[in-house]
Amino acid sequence: MTSRPPTLREKRRYVLVRTDPAGTVVDQKELYFAVHEAVSSLWGDAAAALIHMAVVAAESQYVFVRCRRGTERELAIALTTVISCGGQKISLRTLATSGTIESLRERIASLQVKETALVPPEECTINGIRYTVCNCSGQKIDVIEKGFKNTTRFFLTKEDLEDI
């Protein structure tokens, strides 16, 4: 099968998305199903077909989502309604839209320079309960209660830990 000449190809746009909470590794296929469900439930099957969404790549916490040119707004709105992926609570933050993945990669590089990676303390105790620190960036600290049963993630700051 020969590929179409560039002038006959449909124009596409790529949306750069960050997955929160930090440090979450999402499976590309599961994220595709989550975004697809969000798009089709919000806009319906006909509009979902027009948007022609695809999760192109997932690199650490950044994800590239493709759509047809002119439907970026609809895709961005649908992305805000994604609340979980593979049973894990997540949030998708739209960062940028571009015509090429390459320019979005440059954007990621500029964002990663700004981020300050800190060495977190391994664990902490809050109200007598021991927590494992799973992420630490700037003032933000995410902790998970130690144990098998309760794996709820709590979102705190350094000041919160100092106060306790």
């Binding site: 949030s91 003032q139 705190l156 700051t157």
Partner: protein
């Protein structure tokens, strides 16, 4: 003009501390938050206002709690109910916000209650939580109710406030995302900006002198 998320639930209601929510709100483009049952403070350049949420109690109890809250600087929100309930609540001095309109029946908020809200300066809360979290019929009904509220808003010009009712930082949304989601219910950019900045005016609405012609 302060861009405000009109209702968030920090710990112990949710999984995020109020400081973390303030930090996140600052990154998402907000200047202030109303945090339920949290003392007023300033974190990360974000003003955290104290909020009181009154729900599932009889009218007498609402009146008592509103009276008690009047001594503090808290923003008082009352959960909407049927039409008679809403008229009672909207007539109470000290109520700032009526929320949960999306969960009521279609006659609960009509032209009479809309006029009462406009006359008394009580804001109607547009919660984005059901639009984000719900799917199918529930979300469709929510969008339908909000369209109806917007119709009455354009006619009677009662104040609107926008909120996420977030119990976690993951449920908070940026100002741009607010704008995008609000466009689903026909809220244009000036309406949305007004909705996000209305909270500051609510406190002074009861005490302000009004010229009636």
């Amino acid at each position: 003009m302060k861009i405000t998320d009109a209702c968030v639930y920090p710990r112990p209601f949710g999984d995020s501390s109020v400081r973390r929510m303030a930090l996140e709100a600052h990154e998402l483009g907000f200047d202030s938050l109303i945090a339920i049952d949290t003392p007023a403070c300033v974190y990360s350049e974000v003003n955290v206002a104290s909020g009181v949420m009154i729900r599932d109690v009889p009218a007498q109890e609402v009146a008592t709690r509103v009276k008690r809250s009047r001594e503090t600087d808290a923003i008082v929100s009352v959960r909407a109910g049927d039409n008679a309930w809403n008229r009672t609540v909207l007539g109470m001095r000290g109520v700032h916000i009526v929320c949960g309109i999306h969960g009521t029946d279609r006659y609960a908020f009509d032209h009479v209650t809309a006029k009462m809200a406009a006359d008394n300066g009580v804001a109607i809360d547009i919660s984005l939580a059901p639009i984000i979290r719900e799917r199918g019929v529930v979300r469709q009904q929510t969008l339908d109710r909000y369209h109806d509220v917007m119709l009455l808003h354009h006619r009677f010009e009662f104040p609107l406030v926008l909120s996420t009712h977030a119990r976690s930082v993951l449920e908070m949304r940026s100002v741009r995302e607010f704008s995008a989601l609000a466009s689903l219910i026909g809220l244009d950019i000036p309406d949305m900006e007004q909705g996000l900045s209305n909270v500051g005016r609510l406190r002074s609405s009861h005490s302000a002198v009004r010229v009636i012609r």
